[in-house]
């Protein structure tokens, strides 16, 4: 990674870190924390789906695992929340590896992979909903005990910074992936698996690494969710909505890019909030916006918002260097 790679991440970090000094309203801060948690999980999805081209429709399997592991460890075994956070991340990576091993070894791709991940998440949801170990349908309530050791802070801003730190760490991880040999192999598998294999890429191993990393990051976001809201149940943690949410953000923002998931999460939830403000208490209005934006993004902005911006930038550059007249020809 070069300094040029790191500058955008550094700028974003500083701006985002200063934000709570300007915005002090508690609902807005809540919104920002939630958005960052989604962005983190979506970054996890992006490692596998964006760079690896394996579209999972069941990332709830990882999100929920992170949430349940951290909640159960604290409630039933009195494990320290920070340790719980690390174990939850590892658990997510393990679940990812196992699901990946089963599916990739059977050669599942495309729609089939999407369906099998969806089914795994559903199995977890049904089990979590039925087992007494997970609190069943009533869910789990993490005891309110405000201490930094419990990952509970009197000031919400601290939690915001914590989540932000994780988001930045994953941005760095993603940037590293993009520049590394592993990342190059992953993209090669995405573009043409057979060709990548012919060139000596061990595609199964590359995909397994990607899904384990992806599962770990997404589990971390689930863990932070549980820790912030102090309550989870099967439908929140393993429900299909969270799977959809985690794949929408990268697709809207820019699939397979470093900043895509963050941009997408910010855009979607920003628009969703605006819609709620305008439309009042109509249920589902924000989700109507989500779906509409998805259709529009696929129709008009392949490559998401970042892809669109890049095309606009290229166009304006050409305008500057060659003059607008020539561009209208070149553009056709």
């Amino acid at each position: 990674m070069t300094a040029r790679d790191l500058i955008p991440i550094a700028v974003l970090t500083i701006l985002a870190a200063l934000l709570p000094l300007v915005v002090t309203s508690s609902p807005v801060l809540n919104f920002l924390v939630f958005m960052l948690i989604v962005a983190l999980g979506a970054q996890g999805w992006n490692i596998l789906g964006g760079f690896g081209g394996q579209f999972s429709f069941g990332h709830a399997a990882f999100f929920g695992t992170g949430a349940y592991v951290t909640a159960i460890l604290q409630l039933r075994y009195g494990v320290n929340a920070w340790a719980g956070l690390m174990l939850a991340t590892v658990a997510g990576a393990v679940v990812g590896w196992v699901i990946g091993f089963l599916s990739f070894r059977s050669g599942l791709r495309g729609s089939y992979f999407a369906l099998v991940t969806l089914a795994f998440a559903e199995v977890f949801r049904i089990l979590a909903n039925a087992a007494s170990f997970t609190g069943g349908a009533a869910g789990l309530l993490i005891k309110l005990d405000v201490r930094p050791a419990n990952l509970q802070f009197a000031d919400r801003t601290v939690f915001y910074w914590l989540v932000l730190a994780f988001v930045v760490a994953v941005l760095l991880l993603t940037r590293w992936i993009q520049r590394s040999r592993f990342g190059a192999q992953l993209v090669a598998v995405r573009e043409n698996e057979d060709a990548a294999k012919a060139l000596g890429v061990n595609s199964l191993r590359v995909k397994l690494r990607a899904i384990a990393l992806s599962g770990g990051v997404t589990a971390l976001s689930g863990c932070l969710y549980a820790q912030y809201f102090l309550y989870i149940d099967a439908n929140i943690a393993y429900g299909s909505w969270i799977s959809v949410e985690l794949l929408l953000a990268p697709i809207i923002g820019g699939v397979g890019t470093v900043f895509g998931p963050v941009v997408g999460a910010l855009t979607l939830h920003g628009l969703g909030e605006v819609a709620k403000q305008f439309a009042g208490r109509i249920p589902g209005i924000d989700l109507i916006v989500f779906g509409g934006v998805l259709v529009l993004a696929v129709a008009f902005a392949r490559g998401g918002i970042l892809g669109l911006l890049e095309r606009l930038r290229d166009r304006s550059r050409r305008m500057v260097t060659r003059g607008p007249k020539e561009v209208s020809h070149a553009g056709r």
């Binding site: 579209f55 089963l102 599916s103 059977s106 050669g107 599942l108 495309g110 729609s111 089939y112 999407a114 369906l115 099998v116 969806l118 089914a119 795994f120 559903e122 199995v123 049904i126 089990l127 909903n129 039925a130 349908a137 299909s240 959809v244 697709i251 109509i282 249920p283 589902g284 209005i285 989700l287 109507i288 989500f290 779906g291 509409g292 934006v293 998805l294 259709v295 529009l296 696929v298 129709a299 392949r302």
Partner: protein, 290 residues
């Protein structure tokens, strides 16, 4: 513990529920066979059809079975229009994009229904909702028996349409070889839209058969469509008889799992089968080509 009679009754009831799963899966598998995509909007479209049946009953006092008759062409037109004017143009014909567009569409449809009807659950009562038919010592639900009969008839009709009409031949040509079909002058976007319309028309029938014994709320379609995915995968993607047999089988599995494991775990058998089939034989039990 469980008498053979109870087990048999559960299996038969599952068989009849499975018939409706088969109808839902029929549309899904047809769309998969031709467009080669998993239509994520299928569940939301089913919910739309179920609400339509409910409205016909609550507002117009129409019998749910009778409501199927006008609803079939309506749903066909809706499906045709969606594919022709929304999904097709928005996805630029790219398979991955179609998947995302149908996902977006399902989110929009589901939440428009939520905005219109709130999240309340609605039911519909007919004289025959709880009527049973005695078959020897076994008591079978009358509406579900009707469902089984209709599902078999509709599968047969669809098979006739595909195999005996020019439109059906065009659909099969496009399913086999899109480019070749285009070269011999088949209007591919039209065939896509007709297929999507037929898939939605099947949902109209399924909705009419479901409503006398089931309930509707804006999110209900999602639950059905996951089962329908299983049926489609089990039966082999794109296979009509596969969808019928797969649906009946899944219905029985669900019913028996519910009997032995309890209601909350009833669906787990379905998903375990789903995963096992995907992992071991992704072409399905009846599908031939990879």
């Amino acid at each position: 513990m469980y008498s053979p009679q109870i087990i048999l009754e559960a299996a038969l009831n599952g068989l009849m529920t499975g018939a409706v799963y088969a109808l839902i899966a029929l549309g899904l598998t047809l769309i998969y066979g031709v467009l080669h995509i998993i239509n994520f909007a299928h569940g939301a479209l089913l919910t739309c059809a179920m609400f339509a049946v409910w409205i016909a009953w609550a507002v117009l006092g129409m019998d749910p079975y009778l409501a199927i008759l006008p609803l079939v062409p309506l749903m066909f037109v809706l499906g045709y229009g969606l594919q022709r004017f929304v999904i097709g143009p928005a996805s630029h014909g790219d398979d991955g994009n179609i998947l995302l567009v149908t996902l977006g569409l399902s989110i929009v449809l589901e939440n428009v229904l939520l905005a219109l009807f709130q999240s309340d659950t609605r039911t519909l009562d007919t004289d025959y909702s709880f009527q049973v038919v005695a078959l020897g010592p076994l008591l079978l639900s009358y509406p579900r028996l009707i469902g089984l009969g209709v599902a078999v008839v509709v599968t047969g009709l669809l098979w006739l349409v595909l195999n005996r009409t020019d439109t059906g031949k065009a659909i099969r040509a496009v399913a086999k070889e899109k480019l070749g079909a285009n070269l011999v002058g088949i209007d591919v976007p039209h065939v896509y839209a007709v297929t999507f319309g037929l898939g939605c028309a099947c949902l109209a029938v399924a909705a009419g058969l479901l409503m006398p014994t089931f309930y509707v709320n804006p999110r209900i379609g999602g639950a059905f469509v996951l089962v329908a995915f299983t049926v489609v995968v089990l039966g082999g993607m794109g296979s009509l008889p596969g969808a019928l047999l797969g649906g009946l089988f899944i219905g029985v599995v669900e019913s028996l799992c519910g009997l032995f494991l309890g209601d909350s775990l009833g669906q787990i058998g379905i998903f375990l089968i789903f995963i096992a089939v995907l992992l071991v034989r992704p072409t399905g039990l009846f599908g031939a080509k990879a």
